[in-house]
């Protein structure tokens, strides 16, 4: 007897002749053991009653069984939760959209609770017609909606000297990706009329820290968005409600949250957050400044300390890659710590300055492995090894650690964060 698909389509899990490691065999066996029959399944309790009606949750929330998919903090990392960070659970996420509820956080003076009716954006300095805009004003301008990542430049920064964090959530969880909607900054700058002498824009937030950064006018006129919506709805409080800058591909803290002021000037402002902080101390004692671009990076997410291997056989090895310079062009995977590489498949949408999923079919035979991913963007930039990065940068940096990451798979299926030199 012939079955369509048996020959023309690939099977991922063979049941005949495979002993250990077949999840499907196990499933059928468990079912049979539990219920004394193979097919059909019994009628579960939730089918024997009516459920919750509509209207119970005008604004919905996840299943009670998904309590593990949350942002997490590292208490020892900062002196106070007011100026601290929470990490996205990359190990639980799928696709390229980060749910707004799980977008990583980084605050410098906590989350202000802003009344949008009272909020104003002032645009002033070297321009013809300074403006103070209400939120009602802002939403009347023509808008754009774009899927872009935002990444803290300190992402991975705890690991310059070697592995510290036994969790993907903490090694890479300061990146998230959303559909942002707002007005192009270039549209607003045209409205105020930029003085030819102006070369920089100051962006300042309405938090207690008045977090501010200097942004070159070229970038400001390019792809920056003054955003009021995230993933369809108004921006979340911790993401800058009611208004933030989205500065695609650049250090997350240039995407000023709770945006209240844009000033046009001739020179950068040399603010605390671009001198004392968000600079890279080099081996010779000097500091790199204005290192804005979040360079090409990637990490395997389906196999990581939180996602150990439970059985041998087929696994879709999956991860995310991103580049602040443009689109991801290629991702390679190594199972032997970088000696040999296989090209992964890019999955779904491949967008400019957005998370990009990659995957590779893999059959785990139970051997130990050193899994790495290496991303290449459409400018040709190749994600470096940690050794290559240290050669240039030393080990005093906090920011911009985008090196190839290594997960060690043990024979038990456990996964460790290791350094591969």
């Amino acid at each position: 007897m012939a079955f369509a698909g048996d020959s023309s389509r690939r099977k991922f899990f063979k049941r005949a002749g495979v002993a250990a490691g077949s999840a499907l065999l196990t499933a059928n066996q468990i079912w049979a053991a539990e219920h004394g029959e193979n097919l059909p399944p019994n009628i579960p309790s939730w089918m024997q009653q009516t459920g919750t009606g509509v209207g119970a949750a005008p604004y919905g929330s996840p299943s009670e069984y998904e309590k593990d998919a949350i942002r997490r903090t590292v208490p020892w990392l900062t002196a106070t939760p007011i100026s601290s960070v929470s990490f996205s659970p990359l190990q639980s996420l799928q696709g390229i959209i980060t749910p707004s509820s799980l977008h990583f956080e980084r605050h410098h003076s906590g989350i202000p609770n802003i009344d949008p009716e009272e909020h104003r954006l002032m645009i002033h300095g070297l321009c013809g017609n300074p403006l103070v805009l209400t939120m009602d004003d802002l939403v009347r301008f023509p808008s754009v909606s774009e899927i872009r990542f935002i990444e803290c430049p300190a992402n991975g920064g705890m690991e310059w000297r070697g592995p510290q964090m036994e969790a993907l959530q903490f090694t890479h969880g300061m990146i998230s990706c959303s559909e942002w909607t707002g007005v192009r900054l270039s549209t607003l700058l045209a409205e105020v009329g930029v003085d030819p002498k102006a070369k920089w824009v100051l962006a300042e937030g309405a938090d207690g820290a008045a977090m501010a950064r200097s942004i070159p006018l070229d970038k400001a006129l390019n792809d920056v968005i003054v955003a009021y919506a995230q993933n369809g709805e108004r921006i979340r409080p911790e993401q800058g409600y009611p208004l933030r800058l989205v500065n695609p591909g650049w250090e997350g803290n240039t995407s000023i949250k709770w945006l209240r002021r844009l000033e046009l000037g001739e020179k950068p402002w040399h603010l605390r957050e671009e001198t004392s902080k968000y600079t890279d101390l080099m081996p010779d004692g000097r500091a790199r400044r204005f290192t804005w671009v979040q360079e090409t990076n990637s990490v395997v997410t389906s196999v990581c300390p939180e996602n150990s291997l439970k059985s041998r056989g087929y696994h879709e090895l999956e991860g995310v890659a991103w580049s602040g310079r443009g689109k991801i062009k290629q991702v390679d995977i190594s199972f032997d710590g970088g000696f040999s590489w296989k090209e992964a498949k890019l999955k779904g949408l491949v967008l400019d300055k957005a998370l990009t999923r990659f995957s590779l079919d893999w059959s785990w035979d139970g051997s130990p492995a050193l899994i790495q991913s290496r991303a290449i963007d459409d400018t040709g930039y190749v994600q470096p090894t940690l050794a290559q990065l240290r050669e240039v940068r030393g080990v005093n940096s906090i920011y911009h650690k985008n090196s190839i990451h290594t997960w060690q798979v043990l024979a038990t299926g456990e996964v460790k964060n290791v350094q591969n030199t």
Copy 2:
């Protein structure tokens, strides 16, 4: 003195020489009146204190000022909330992603509370190797992530005889769009080996209604996803947690939620939901059946009963269009009830069977207007007028009302739901 941008870039709001209707003038005037000065703005109270630290909300939620962006129900529409519907607030949404918390709901026996450890998917019938799969089994298969709309075929169904609902949320709110992740149904069918005699697939849910539909094998092998994630996280309970079918472009109720059983058979099952319901009663008393595709549709969202016009001058007229057959190719806008049309711009991503944003620059001079949008998809299908639809379908239908919608703008700026014949 010349300002860059004054000549090369367009200004949307002229402040000199414009009296009434300039929102920006108003903003500056309000500010001056409130604060006794124009620039710079004062230091708001939330900048004079620290805010909420990280860790306070491991799973975030919207600002307290956004309580209006919620799903809403129409109590008189159904006998019980157990078998009812809630509507997405399209009037508040931006971009093409619907936040999972605001995805419309349609339940036939309420939302079951399913333990994912206990949930099983059985695939059986005319196949070589019937299977019972756990959730752990399912997530091991290779996955896809795709942005697709789901629309209830009853969307707009209250208005076959004319306008009933004075709100966009209720005239069109049974459509939402998410990034869905899961296993292609074709992958699972290859795993069980489809018998050549099989021509149909039954999909059954694990709710109290055991909601089920018959789906032709051709469609099942095409683009259907057995999905476990929505917008990055696991599917919400009201969207089928832990597992649902996503049947792109087809009637929402064929995207069976809480999916527990797939059966391969020779003929359709002629179930309640494809005979008594989800069929279209024609003028001659006969009923159309298996009218699966959600035909091309569109609606203006930035101007609607909930979004009245508050001032004259520039407005970005915006809306959403979609087609169950493929991509949106063109959207036209009329301001005079369909006598003349202007082509709108398609904004952002234009994806297969996904919400697509369109927009048109518009300067409102205070005159009454009859605003319509008309979408055309890449198969050449043109969204019909209500008159054209009624010519074929009469007025006894509930489902598949995809006709051109009319918003009447009054001189006051109020917006009414009217029928334009």
